[in-house]
Amino acid sequence: MKKLLKYIKGYRIVALFAPLFKLFEALLELLVPIVMAAIIDTGITNADKPYIYKSCLLLVVLGATGLAFSITAQYFSAKAAVGFATKVRHVMFDHMQHLSFSVIDRLGTASMITRITSDLNQVQTGVNMALRLFLRSPFIVFGAMIMAFTIDWQSALVFAVSIPILFAVVFGIILFTMPMYKRVQGALDQLLRITRDALGGARVIRAFNKQDDERTEFRTKNQEVTARQKHVGKLSALLNPVTYVIINLAIVVLIYIGALQVNGGKISQGEVVALYSYMSQILVELIKLANCIITVSKSCACANRISAVLDLQNDLERIPSAPAKTGMDFIVFDHVDLKYKNGGENALTDICFSVKKGETIGIIGGTGSGKTSLVNLIPHFYDTTGGHVYIDGVDVKALDVEQLRERIGMVMQKAVLFHGTIRENLLWGNPNATPEQLDAALTAAQATDIIKDKEKGLDTMVEQGGRNFSGGQRQRLTIARALVRNPEILILDDSASALDFATDAKLRQAIRQLPGQPTVFIVSQRTASIRHADKILVLDDGVAVGLGTHAELMDNCEVYREIYDSQFKKDGASA
């Protein structure tokens, strides 16, 4: 929380003035019962009409001045809260964009999004509320008590006793029921899950005739929600009646003491009315204060979650640049280990291989064998936990991350497109690409027909997540995007899985003929996609179990042969 406060800096003055003006307003409000008491005691008792007119005019002036103060305060607090939130939002977005992959994995993108959206909105509301009410409400409550003391200290003792009791009751009930409401929410989440399952799993539920079980489960949980709601409802239903009783008992005592004091000549009738008015004011403000405290404490929790993100550092290792080692191939994996921060086992163990400029390397293996982990080390998305990855003889950890990644065309497993035109998406690869370059990339990626059918061609809009394109179309467009930058290194991470075999083959053909002759990494589960690579690396459970050409591996690598056979054997006989 404290760390976030520094972002309010630019708004320090307004943030100070907002509660101050609120305070002025509260002060004026506290004067009203005194003026009214004077009307009764002086005006009515002496039948002094001019005095009554003057006092009423004063009441209007007090109200109008209060209005002016209050509006000023509202403006200042809104300005401070919104300005603060805007600033924090900017800082957070910037910060989040520069977190390393391992931090992103740990935090999860969904949680990051919640923090920058709903958490931050909650903080904005909290700051706004705090500036407006945190001083005002206690000031009115205690102010009323102090005013009571100025009238008559014996009567004021009633205030001194009833305020703490009211405070305890209001907070007690609210604090006690808060965790109960949370449990209601938890039970409700279960209902939500069952409903979602019933829809998403409709086929399976019906295939296994499980409708009755689902219904029973839903009804049980639903009953549980209802029971919890009723339980907490009974307690919260106490708040109004109990405070009502306390405040009225206090008024009864106040009037009785007032009667004694008036009889003794210590105070006047008008002052009894004033004391009664003050007592009536307290409850409303106390409830406001309680709600304010709850909002603010929720905001504090949100603020802490935000601070936690801001505290995370990009933990990519940087080492000072050293002169390039000579006599090395273009890309070298030198005894590389990789262990994810939250995973138990090594994802990669002791990987060694080297690649010459312009070569094509196939990487194959079952699901979870470490193929993606391996290629993710080339753009330094993750740190190796053992060994080194060298590009041109320099450890990637010594290279500037941005410059390194600009040399690489990466096509990830998940084909992601962004909201915007196709052209804008392609320009991600290279903002300065000419139309001819875009065309060439689309042709090589076998994506021209996607554009051809569209009325607006390259200016066709891509909806969020690219959902107006099929999986295969998205894959080809993401490949084109990577090719637009004319990369030195091209990484295709299982990025042709949605393409049919013929298109896949044409794509590989086109990539081989690219003018820039990039070094290409192809990750695939299909032997057909990689069998013609210069070198094939076979992974099994994070360990390299084979390295060589297709022919060599068929000869000496059992895992490779098994994979190949599982896809080709029977055809071999018949084709």
Binding site: M36, I52, L62, G63, G66, L67, S70, V82, G83, T86, H90, F93, Q97, I113, T117, Q124, D197, A198, L199, A202, R203, V204, I205, R206, Q211, E214, R219, N222, T226, G233, N240, P241, Y244, I251, V252, I255, Y256, A259, V262, N263, Q269, Y276, G366, T367, G368, F381, R405, E406, I408, M412, F418, W428, G465, R481, A502, A505, H532, I563, D565, S566
Partner: protein, 578 residues
């Protein structure tokens, strides 16, 4: 506001009509009592005039009256709240139960074509809104109106002229609130639009951050973000500021009312026609209270409208037609051999978009039928029809000579073992998930089934073995592991007919080969339908149906289709293309 929504709501309330009546009565009672207390306090004050002029006996009597009344009021208020809660939560429970009941019986065509998120939010969020707004809101509205009317009467009894002054000025605060609200509305709309725009950008760029970093696109994103952020700041400031004027403004109107009551009251006391200082103090207290229900009502009415819209949405869902019930004379499908006939079947998902036309197929018991074709060609349609997820438009499908519409859905489905590409696991233990297909199965049977599918080895390595709880959405299991569990289910129950719809698509080819052996064994003597895009897995099928654009374009065995050199041969050979 639609009548039907209101009548549906009333139907739900009917069951609780006594509770409903009780809350209404109690609310009238508490309002009247609450308003009577200031009058008593006023009378007490009238007995405290000046030194020596205090009537202690009267004061004490009145104070005791107050204590009793306050006690009764508080008790009634609590009872009212509790009854009202019960009423609200029970109605909500009933509505949700009905909604879920419907969801369980919706035709698949409805589920497939409508957003699940939307339906879920109707059952959860909309019903919540309904309970908050419509039920609690209604009592608030009712209490508010009673309070206004009762206060009015009490004030008129005390003094007509002052009462009129209060009545005339108070609505001013409503106008002020309304005036501000309409001015603010456009700002709030702009704010939420801009916020939506910003959230979309955040979702995209933070959600797909890895791609962003791979293309070093951070600076451009930040620029775009800041532009939106700037606009948002502008709109938010205005929306928050304008809306926050309402409170001080209505407070100002209140203070005017207060002043008027003081002025007129003081003059009335001086003129000496029976209006006392105590009455003035009661009036002052009313003047403070009178504006409150007005302000509340204006809030409640928008909430009521909103809640009504929510009620409309949830009732709309509940009113949707469900799957047609089984035929009244439907019998249980028993002792199936697996002889399946598609007889002049016509079917389409959308009217005027014919898909399957006059389809005739005959499968002998125990045959293995493979369905192949490019994505979206309608392979799953046949399965939807076989399982009666959808019904044919014309013609019929028969199993062992019986139209599948003449048997109960339950018995039809029991005879099929189905594994889909999309896995679906429940939030319970591995063991229970497998046992789903055969509730009485022993642990030994479960383990034996898992061994045949090679799921045993990974289950063993889970933290609690077969008792490991699978988290929501399958938690930490890989897609391939989830498919293995779903296959194991089928291995356990061994139904007479099988449907494997891309059942091994996420399992790597090496493991797949091993599972194939288990499948081969299971399929012996069982009529089986296999949908696959890996052609290597289906070559041994007795019949291969080749589909394209919803039609069956070729059928035959692997060898005969290859020889024919048609669509299948083309598909097949493209696997080896260079």
């Amino acid at each position: 506001m639609r009548k039907i929504t209101l009548s549906t709501l009333l139907r739900y309330l009917k069951k609780y009509k006594f509770s409903f009546l009780a809350t209404l009565l109690l609310s009238v009672a508490t309002v009247l009592l609450t308003l009577y207390v200031p009058i008593l306090i006023g009378r007490a004050i009238d007995n405290i005039i000046a030194p020596g002029q205090v009537n202690f006996a009267s004061v004490l009597r009145i104070l005791i009256q107050i204590i009793v009344l306050v006690g009764i009021t508080a008790a009634l208020q609590w009872i009212m709240n509790v009854i009202n809660n019960k009423l609200t939560y029970h109605v909500v429970r009933d509505i949700r139960n009905d909604a879920f009941e419907k969801i369980n019986r919706f035709p698949l065509s409805y589920i497939d074509s409508h957003s699940h998120g939307d339906m879920v939010s109707r059952v959860i969020a909309d019903v919540d809104q309904l309970s908050d707004g419509l039920l609690l809101g209604f009592t608030q509205l009712f209490t508010g109106i009673v309070t206004i009317i009762a206060t009015l009467i009490f004030m008129l009894v005390l003094n007509v002229w002052i009462a009129l002054a209060v009545v005339l000025i108070t609505p001013l605060s409503l106008f002020v609130a309304k005036f501000i609200a309409t001015r603010t509305y456009s700002m709030f709309k702009l704010q939420s639009e801009t916020r939506g725009e910003q959230t979309a950008l955040i979702n995209e760029m933070i959600g797909e951050q890895k791609t962003v970093q791979a293309f070093s696109h951070e600076t451009e994103n930040l620029k775009k973000f800041d532009e939106i952020n700037k606009r948002l700041q502008n709109f938010s400031l205005r929306a928050i500021f304008f809306s926050s004027i309402t409170n001080p403004a209505t407070r100002f109107v209140n203070s005017i009312v207060y002043m008027l009551v003081g002025l007129l009251g003081a003059l009335a006391v001086i003129s000496g026609n029976g209006f006392t200082v105590g009455a003035l103090s009661s009036f002052l207290s009313y003047a403070n209270q009178y504006t409150k229900p007005f302000n509340e009502i204006s809030g409640v009415i928008t909430e009521l409208q909103n809640a009504f819209a929510c009620a409309d949405r949830i009732f709309h869902l509940i009113r949707r037609p469900t799957e047609p019930a089984d035929a009244p004379d439907a019998h249980v499908l028993k002792q199936v051999h697996g002889h399946i006939v598609f007889d002049h079947v016509f079917f389409s998902y959308r009217k005027n978009h014919p898909l399957i036309e006059d389809l005739n197929l005959h499968f002998k018991a125990g045959q293995r039928i493979a369905i192949v074709g490019p994505t979206g060609c309608g392979k799953t349609t046949l399965i939807n029809l076989l399982m009666r997820f959808y019904d044919v438009d014309a013609g019929s499908i028969q199993i062992d000579g019986q139209d599948i519409r003449s048997v109960t859905r339950q018995s039809l489905r029991e005879n099929f073992g189905m594994v889909l590409q999309e896995t679906w696991l429940k939030n319970t233990t591995v063991k229970e998930n497998i046992r789903m297909s055969k509730p009485g199965a022993t642990d030994e049977e479960v383990i034996a089934a898992a061994k045949t599918t090679h799921a045993h080895s990974f289950i063993k390595r889970l933290p609690n073995g077969y008792d490991t709880i699978i988290g929501e959405d399958g938690g930490s299991l890989s897609q391939g592991q989830k498919q293995l569990l779903c296959i194991t289910r089928i291995m356990l129950c061994k139904p007479p007919m099988l449907i494997l719809d891309e059942a091994t698509s996420s399992i790597d080819t090496r493991t797949e080969i091993k599972i194939q052996r288990a499948f081969q064994k299971l399929m012996e003597g069982r009529t089986s339908f296999i949908v696959a895009h890996r052609l290597s897995t289906i070559q041994e099928a007795d019949v291969i149906l080749v589909m394209n654009k919803g039609r069956i374009v070729e059928q035959g065995t692997h060898a005969s289709l290859l020889k024919r050199g048609g669509f299948y041969a083309e598909l097949y050979n493209s696997q080896f293309a260079e």
